[in-house]
């Protein structure tokens, strides 16, 4: 009776969120799996089942592989650069000033820098896109190209050259993401007991030694979380590509990503079945990435 009351109490709290989760997250997933086996166009009353034909088509679809290749590049570059930059900034902001008085300090003006770093994070992606559209604008009105032209250089097609476009977008993604991870890592650093730094500093460790021998190992868990977040973000990128890139994924598909292709296929070309198959592929890619990352980086926890 006692147990029943206890679990009944817990279950009572869980019913609402669980139902919402089932209805709005799980059931659409199941439906997507079901639709991936059909040739539904979004208007037919009864979808026609076509078996695995959509997946067969997917493997021969050049655009699909192009999107996968772009995801691979983003998956490598985005977490690596974002985390490296965020760690560097977080270290400077929190510990870079060396030990003065009691405990460690950041470089001079670190509170101000914190706000600066975090600012892009509070902007909506659409706003960010419009902002960078002005920065990358290919003629003399562009922020970068305006300066280049004034200095006598030729303007650069940041978003129109296939070899540059993805990197231009990556720069925006990193610029936007760094602030959040600076804050995340700052919090992680604050949790490291000051004694370690003091002891190491007394033994003559410099800032580099402090960073690599104390900060980095003790931040491992936080970095791992950041890595998974950024990896999942690498499978999205929808809004940025849709608004900022030329012709949503161009030029020549150089910046296209799966969510953009899914959106086009489902809503512009009315191939909902095929788009669902892409969605299913994306689902497995994301899940595989998350599981792999957590498996590979699993290690004994360091007790503080």
């Amino acid at each position: 009776m006692e147990r029943l009351r206890k679990y009944g109490f817990v279950a009572g709290f869980l019913v609402v969120p669980l139902t919402l989760y089932l209805v709005f997250v799980i059931s659409p997933y199941i439906q997507a799996f079901q639709l991936a086996l059909t040739s539904w166009n979004g208007y037919q009353r009864k979808p026609t089942y076509v078996g695995l034909a959509n997946f067969g088509k997917l493997f021969g679809d050049e655009v699909f592989w192009q999107a996968i290749r772009n995801h691979a590049v983003i998956l490598l570059v985005l977490p690596l650069l974002t985390i490296a930059l965020a760690l560097f900034f977080a270290f400077l902001l929190n510990l870079g000033g060396g030990s003065r008085g009691s405990g460690m300090r950041g470089v001079w003006g670190s509170t101000f820098y914190k706000v600066v770093f975090f600012a892009p994070q509070v902007l909506a992606v659409a706003v960010v896109s419009v902002l960078w559209k002005a920065i990358y604008r290919p003629d003399e009105s562009g922020v970068i190209n305006g300066a280049l032209i004034k200095m006598g250089f030729d303007p650069v097609g940041w978003l129109t050259e296939p070899s540059l476009a993805l990197w231009s977008l990556l720069a925006v993604m990193i610029w936007q993401a760094v602030g959040f991870y600076v804050v995340l890592f700052s919090a992680g650093m604050a949790a490291i007991p000051k004694d370690y730094f003091e002891a190491a500093a007394l033994d003559g460790a410099g800032r580099f030694r402090l960073f690599f021998s104390i900060t980095l190992p003790l931040l491992r868990d936080t970095i791992q979380v950041g890595w998974v977040y950024l990896g999942i973000a690498a499978f999205d990128c929808f809004a940025l590509v849709q608004v900022l890139s030329v012709t949503a994924g161009g030029p020549d598909g150089a910046t296209t990503v799966l969510p953009v292709e899914i959106y086009k296929t489902a809503f512009s070309y009315n191939k909902v079945g095929y788009a669902s198959a892409m969605g299913v592929a994306l689902f497995f890619l994301t899940i595989t990435f998350a599981v792999l990352t957590l498996r590979v980086s699993r290690r004994e926890k360091i007790e503080l």
Binding site: A32, Y43, R45, A126, P138, D139, L159, T160, T286
Partner: protein, 482 residues
């Protein structure tokens, strides 16, 4: 008619914000409203209303004033004031006591797709904008009412005339979908090259009629730092695809476009298309500016207003779209595309005159007769005139713009149409029929214009896409004869 002018930046931001939510990682969510399995559709009410005893001389379509009418209007570039301020009052005046439910929205597809699936459909739909419904797919499901009773009904202005005799023939031709009359195209637009006639007069320049003159003017303009022509590569590059298709039709006749629409084998590799694409690529290489490949339509149109671009390929809505930014001394005028070869099938004066802005009546709605009657009133002179006043766009109704004070751009377009006479370039309908092919053609065109493809490679690629579409049995095929 979908052109990027219909979507403002704010709308876009909002839409992106929303879709970003939907298409998160694991875009399975996309199908949230899918296979619900709506109720069986009710037996289609016969739109002819022969059964209802309400048909009379003043009520030829047999409207029951007790039945409410729901009208959904795309409130984009044209707004929806023409519906609430002109067409709906006409309907309530004609049928005393009738209730109208008006819905203005920018998300036609998102809002109405679930309603068509569930069977709770509005009566009149203005299908437009980037999220427009796929009308061919709706027609295949029997959702669209046959417009034949409307075409055969007496006109509001002259009961002796049928509605079909009061509209421009292109409206009747373009109504066909899967062989039936299902879609009302309401506006008429003129597409060719746009320029500032005052600026030309000041400079003492005349319109080039041949490709040699076009290029010579390009040299003159280049010396003054003006680009001969530009199209927006970032958003709206299909203005240039239209341009190249219309040029091809000028060289080889409208059959060139009709073949492309009908997915005829190697239609894209015809001599006319090749000549047109080659000529435009030449002009782009010699006089173009690559930076436009990264600009959107608004940015390009502003630069056109600043006289940085001489000719801009677009339609007659351009003038109204740019009305807020237009300097006083800039006067929009239309220029036919210069003749590319000496042996062109169509004379220099030929321009594209097309119909657009789709309206449909739901066949399985509650009030299909009301829907057809609403269209009949839209096609009255009063309804059409009011529309032109509110939106600065011409309608398919013959003579409805008489007595109106038209803008210089519209006047120039009307004059160009008179000059063209029978030499009207047809519209390319694969834009609506096979959007995937259309999008592919202008995406690859950007690559071509950036100098990364040759004309042959470009046409091979597009032809292959057309072949793929033809072979794809899941895509419903349309055909046209003229």
């Amino acid at each position: 008619m979908t052109h990027p002018g219909e979507i403002t930046r704010r709308q876009l931001l909002r839409r992106i914000g929303m879709t970003a939510l939907v298409v998160g990682p694991g875009a399975g969510l996309l199908s949230a409203c899918a296979t619900g399995g709506g109720p069986e559709p009710v037996a289609s009410a016969s739109a002819g209303a022969s059964a209802s005893g309400l048909v009379s001389a003043t009520n030829p379509l047999g409207v029951d004033a007790k039945k409410p009418l729901e009208v959904v209007i795309f409130s984009g570039g044209l707004g929806d004031a023409y519906a609430t301020g002109v067409h709906q009052p006409l309907y309530t005046k004609a049928h005393a006591g009738v209730q109208i439910k008006h819905v203005g929205t920018q998300n036609i597809g998102t809002q109405l797709r679930p309603r068509f699936l569930s069977g709770d459909v509005p009566d009149v739909v203005n299908n437009s904008g980037p999220e427009a419904l796929d009308l061919a797919a709706l027609a295949a499901e029997g959702h669209l009412a046959d417009l034949t009773p409307l075409w055969d009904a007496p006109s509001v202005d002259d009961p002796g005339k049928k509605v079909r005799d009061t509209v421009t023939p292109a409206a009747l031709e373009n109504a066909k979908l899967n062989g039936k009359d299902l879609v009302l195209n309401y506006i008429v637009s003129h597409r060719a090259l746009w320029y500032d006639s005052k600026f030309f007069a000041d400079k003492g320049w005349t319109l080039p009629t041949t490709w040699e003159e076009f290029k010579a003017l390009g040299e003159t303009a280049k010396k003054e730092g003006i680009v001969l022509f530009a199209f927006p590569g970032q958003k709206g590059p299909y203005y240039q695809l239209w341009n190249m298709l219309y040029s091809a039709a000028k060289i080889g006749g409208n059959q060139v476009i009709i073949d492309i629409d009908n997915l005829v084998d190697n239609a894209w590799k015809s001599e006319a298309v090749k000549a047109s694409v080659t000529a435009w690529l030449d002009v782009q290489t010699a006089f173009g500016d690559k930076s436009y490949l990264g600009l959107d339509h608004t940015q390009t149109q502003i630069k056109h207003l600043q006289h940085k671009v001489l000719f801009y390929p677009c339609g007659s809505w351009l003038e109204n779209e740019m009305v807020k930014d237009k300097p006083k001394d800039f006067e929009y005028a239309i220029a036919p595309i210069p003749s590319i070869t000496a042996a062109d099938k169509m004379p220099y004066g030929a321009i594209q005159v097309g119909v657009g802005e789709n309206f449909v009546v739901a066949a399985k709605g509650k009030n299909p007769e009301g829907g057809l009657e609403y269209m009949r009133l839209m096609l009255s002179k009063e309804g059409a005139k009011g529309f032109t006043e509110k939106t600065k766009n011409l309608t398919v109704v013959n003579g409805a713009a008489e007595g109106l004070d038209l803008t210089p751009g519209l006047v120039s377009a009307a004059k160009a149409q008179d000059a063209a006479g029978q030499n009207i370039i047809t519209d390319a309908r694969f834009e609506g029929w096979y959007k995937e092919l259309f999008d592919y053609a202008w995406q690859q065109q950007n690559t071509l214009m950036a100098g990364r493809l040759t004309v042959e490679e470009y046409l091979d690629k597009v032809q292959k896409k057309a072949d793929d579409i033809k072979a794809d049995s899941s895509i419903a095929k349309q055909t046209r004869n003229a």
